[in-house]
């Protein structure tokens, strides 16, 4: 029995004796856990905040939206006012983005058109979210025949040629913002339904759901307290990613002439008319396109940030 190293004991032995007093686990409960607790969403926000790109996306989106609403007031122009002497002007002090082929102020038109684009995007997403999560939750929970019916219906809708549906609908319902929203969201919820159903199928096998059943919880309680709160995260990401998709589809439909009807306008309609002047006045296409790109980029950055922040693997 030898010491590996000679101990270097301090001279004051009395002090040392005190150090060797047995205190056991005194003053410690042994049940201490980490610092202050963060709620789930606070934790998500913390991780989202530390993602520079996502925050850039959020700031960008806020700036774009601010511009759309404040812009026309600052510029003092009317988006419908036609000035025949001011056709196809280049950007100037008076007309910041120049004017279009009818002499209307392009900046104001981009702002007003953007409101329509974003409005359509948000409406479609809302419809998609409500129908998708309700049907998805129903299919996942009930299973059996209900599940089969919903899923077959989804397959049917999912396999319809999208463009033809939109063309037919705009013929039947006439060209209006409403018919556009209706046509676009008619099939869009299929993906959300599938995703929510998959989530619910997985979650309902979790032990905590079984535990709630063992405690005598009703189906409604299980959905509200256990299933929905745990799918919210993924639905949020899906929603964020869906908005730019709708904005893009709207732009595309307006571009091929199926979108909003003049004198109303949208980014897609602006791009469409700008394209005709592309050879001589490229700025008429450039400005609406830049706005579309910035908006879609900001939504994608936010969506990416959210999905990272929600990823359970990245939680500590």
């Amino acid at each position: 029995m030898e010491m590996v190293e000679k101990r270097t004991l301090p001279q004051e032995n009395d002090q040392l004796d005190d150090q060797f007093e047995r205190i056991g686990t005194e003053g410690l409960s042994g049940e201490d856990i980490g610092e202050k607790s963060l709620t789930y969403w606070a934790d998500v926000w913390r991780r989202f905040r530390s993602n520079k790109l996502a925050i850039f996306g959020l700031v960008l989106l806020i700036l774009v939206v601010l511009l759309l609403f404040v812009g026309p007031m600052v510029s003092g122009q009317n988006y419908q006012k036609i000035e025949s002497g001011m056709k196809n002007q280049l950007p100037s002090k008076e007309h910041w983005f120049g004017t279009d082929d009818m002499g209307r102020d392009l900046f104001t038109r981009v702002c007003v058109g953007g409101r329509v684009s974003i409005y359509i995007g948000l409406c479609c997403t809302l419809v998609m979210f409500v129908i998708g999560s309700l049907l998805g939750a129903l299919a996942g929970l009930k299973g059996g025949l209900v599940d089969d019916l919903i899923m077959r219906f989804c397959e049917f809708l999912g396999n319809l040629p999208y463009l033809i549906v939109v063309v037919i609908l705009s013929v039947v319902l006439g060209r209006s913002t409403f018919s556009l929203i209706f046509a676009m969201s008619l099939t869009a919820w299929v993906g959300t339904t599938r995703m929510v159903r998959g989530q619910i199928l997985q979650l309902k096998e979790q032990d905590y759901v079984q535990a709630a059943r063992a405690l005598g919880a009703s189906t409604g309680r299980i959905i509200l307290k256990h299933l929905l709160p745990n799918t919210m995260g993924i639905i949020m990401v899906d929603i964020t990613m869906a908005v730019p998709g709708f904005i893009f589809s709207e732009a595309f439909l307006s571009y091929i002439g199926l979108g909003v009807r003049p004198p109303e306008t949208s980014w897609g309609a602006l791009a469409s008319s700008g394209q005709m002047q592309l050879m001589f006045y490229p700025h008429q296409l450039f400005f609406p396109c830049v706005m579309i790109v910035l908006t879609i980029l900001s939504f994608h950055l936010i969506g990416d940030g959210l999905s990272d922040a929600l990823d359970p693997k990245l939680r500590k």
Binding site: V4, E21, R22
Partner: protein, 343 residues
């Protein structure tokens, strides 16, 4: 004196995580002799798996820091593995040092036939034809006692049961006759009867191939029958090491004692209160300055919470880091045989 095949000196491993830097292994020294079985025992998060992955060079480089201020060394036959390039490590991994993992389900490629997976590990390290490699793969499957080996060679992992998969994993690991086998919880995912089969198999193959084995486990029962030496890890440090008999019959660290006595013996009376430790292991993002076990130790002294104890050597093999072996410590009420020799 036995010949040392592996020597680990002052190994520290830290991971950069979201919440901060986690000091998973905090200065570990040990050696492995040729042909012996060294067991690393400890609870989850004590750093035993990280230590073995560091030896294999399998830690994710981007988030990991190995070494620390004083410089770590992992000497394999005198060469420092930490200084090897990734290519050099690939040549050593699987041929000189092999590893088998806890979960045989995820460590085999599900889209490759078993035979090809074994042959692949042979082909990486040897210049032989594929046909020869497959022939060797067949020998390996026979060596790990898989019945109908020729048929099994052509099957996919999902057609194997858990125990069979672990055998196949062992065949892959041993295909190049390594000098060291690191077995990380090889039987934890298996049932007791299969567990016994696999441990027997590892023991037999060890003798046949004269390998050294590092057995990483939390199960003291498994260790008792196969290990030559044991080292007990707690919160990233080795708190005690010794031969099997020394650890089981004269352990000198209160944590080792606690581990041993919290397992019910078949002969103890029913429903007798088991010895149980209070609390949980410390958070390694903020490791304690003193002995990490002090907050859970019923014999803890004031000094334990402030200063890490020095290592005391009791025999050629047994060492322990605990203030209780200090002459000034209060020895009353300690378990029998824990503190030896009066000074």
């Amino acid at each position: 004196m036995d010949e040392k095949i592996l020597e680990v000196r002052n190994l520290s491993v830290s991971f950069h995580t979201y919440a901060g830097t986690s000091h998973a292994v905090r200065g570990v020294d040990f050696y492995l002799n040729k042909g012996e079985t060294l067991a690393i025992v400890g609870e989850s998060g004590c750093g035993k798996t990280v230590t073995s992955k560091a030896i294999m060079g399998l830690l994710p480089m981007e988030q990991t820091e190995i070494g620390g201020s004083e410089g770590a060394e992992i000497l394999f036959n005198g060469e420092d593995l930490l200084k090897k390039s990734e290519n050099e490590m690939t040549a050593i991994r699987g041929s000189k040092i092999s590893m088998i993992f806890q979960d045989p389900m995820t460590s085999l490629n599900p889209t490759m036939r078993i035979g090809e997976q074994i042959a692949e590990s042979i082909l990486i390290h040897n210049e032989i034809s594929k046909a020869d490699a497959l022939k060797k793969a067949l020998e390996m499957l026979e060596m790990v006692k898989i019945p109908n080996a020729a048929q099994r060679l052509k099957q996919y992992p999902f057609e194997f049961s858990g125990g069979m998969r672990q055998r196949a994993m062992i065949a892959v690991a041993l295909a190049c006759r390594p000098e060291i086998l690191i077995a990380d919880e090889p039987t934890t995912a298996l049932d007791v009867t299969i567990q016994a089969q696999i441990m027997d198999l590892i023991g037999e193959l060890q003798k046949e191939l004269n390998m050294a084995v590092i057995l990483v486990t939390h199960d003291l029962g498994v260790v008792a029958s196969v290990a030559d030496r044991i080292q007990v890890m707690y919160a990233g440090k080795i708190v005690e090491r010794g031969s099997v008999d020394e650890i089981f019959y004269q352990s000198t660290h209160p944590y080792t004692r606690a581990l041993l006595s919290s397992v019910p013996k078949i002969h103890t009376n029913n429903k007798e209160t088991l010895y149980s430790l209070k609390g949980t292991p410390p958070d390694l993002i903020h490791p304690p300055t003193g002995c990490a076990f002090a907050p859970r130790c019923e014999y803890g002294m004031r000094i334990c919470r402030n200063k890490y104890p020095e290592t005391v050597k009791f025999s050629e093999t047994q060492e322990c880091s605990c203030w209780l072996h200090h002459p000034k410590a209060d020895h009353s009420g300690l378990p029998e045989n824990m503190v030896r020799g009066n000074r």
